[in-house]
Amino acid sequence: MIHPIPSGTRDVLPEETREVRAITDTLRGVMERHGYGEVYTPALEYESVLQRADMAEAQPAYRVFDESGAVLALRSDMTAPIARVVATRYATSEPPLRFCYFAHCYRGVSPQRGQPRELLQAGIELIGSPAPEGTAEVLTVLCHSLDAVGLNDYRVGLGDASLYPALMSILEVREPVRAELLGALVRRDFVELQQCLDASGLSEQAAKLLLEVPQRRGGPELLTEAPAPAVEAVTGMRLVHELLEPAVAERVIFDLGLLRNIGYYTGAVFEVYDPALGAPIGGGGRYDDLLGRFGRALPAVGFALGVDRLHMALAGEERGTGAMLERPSPATEGAAR
């Protein structure tokens, strides 16, 4: 008999499980050594609690009623549940708090796109450690974790969710243009960005900056060579960069246009790329307002890796073939323009 399972879910059989387990065991070891204690939380939470986090495109997608009619939702990430744990179970603990997790999360999918409905995430949350120190610590644990599992060619794109809004404020861009520009940028649509700017009535100089700055990505020289108003906006990224050890710093690609599609990010954001995979392996960032929404206002930062994507990238690197068809070694790719 063949019994189906929902698209975007799968069974993991012993051979694969052994490989995945080797990866997660290694990650767990690195995280524990850095002082991050592992937590489990329920896959099902009250929808009203999860909704305190602003998930934007990663909202919970599956809901059920419990026996009393309350709405339960399957978690779509671990950041919101850990924010709840901190507010509830660590209400008076002295920060900083460090947690790591290995947990299945659940997302809605588009048909026939190979997207997972259920994905295993491995990540950490650092609560109560502000920028830039906390950000630098999380980036360090991220790189040490990836180094430990043997991923060779990865790079970490580092941006700042507050950069473009800050730039728009400096250039006195007002609503509704602000929302339009940010929308185009989130959709990664530079053609629409240009069209919005052309129609915005902004000065030619301001429009040029707003179009060019988010397309800049490359080495640390980007942070000093940026045009004047942008230099002010990249201060946060520069402070983080100064705190990174050389082995971590050389993995970083500065990306002045990087935004992640989850609403709660407030400062630094990052994504992990590997030439063996056409999509980011994971990412993270600062969410300094999120804990406050759960009742314990603390700055926070974290990352999550897609374990299956990490596994695919490792396998791709081993085969010597990847989606990117070649393997540039770290630091061969220079600055953009």
Binding site: V191, Y273, A279, P280, A323, M324, E333, A336
Partner: protein, 222 residues
Amino acid sequence: MNPVGELTIAVPRGALFDETVELLSQLGLDVGELRSNDRRLLFDDIGVITMRSSDVPTYVEAGAADLGVTGKDVLLEQAAQHPGEPGRDVYELLDLRYGRCVMVLASKAGPDPALEALRRLGVMRVATKYPRIAARHFEETGRQAEIVEVKGSVELAPLTGMVEAIVDLTATGTTLQENNLVVREEIAVCTARLIANPVAHKLKAARIDQLLERIRGLPAPV
């Protein structure tokens, strides 16, 4: 190193093919074989893969190509329909300005049968090859429409009375005219776009930006 910096480009067969090949030729690619052999799909030597236009975002999103050329109509049709739904994860880098078409709402000449249907029946039936663009357009303009997806000649659908209107792409309007259809609304102007894989956009930043500069420096298509 090929003239476009070892980047792999997905090139659409069909309406956008000739102008895309012309663009690649101006960038210094040896396009002789690409022009003459319309059965080959993979041109490793010049970093080109060919496919139908609507498949380009699929290959680029997966990273099978670093860059791709496709119509805005394809990108609009594959974009996220609702907030919360993931759209195609590709960068849209450049409007290449060729292959200009307009996505239109059209119905039979004379008194608009779609308006009458909307007034008397509360809903109009619309045939299209672009169900998502059509649904989004009616949603955004606050009208009820029943979308009928067809794969072939859309013009047939209103002529047989199956629907009151169509949403389709038109370059010159000739086909519409020949079938006694008139444009009622313009939904979007669509041209060829250069798109990029999000990981390639970061890991091959310098090469992609160099290529963009060279394309911007070319004379505009007529």
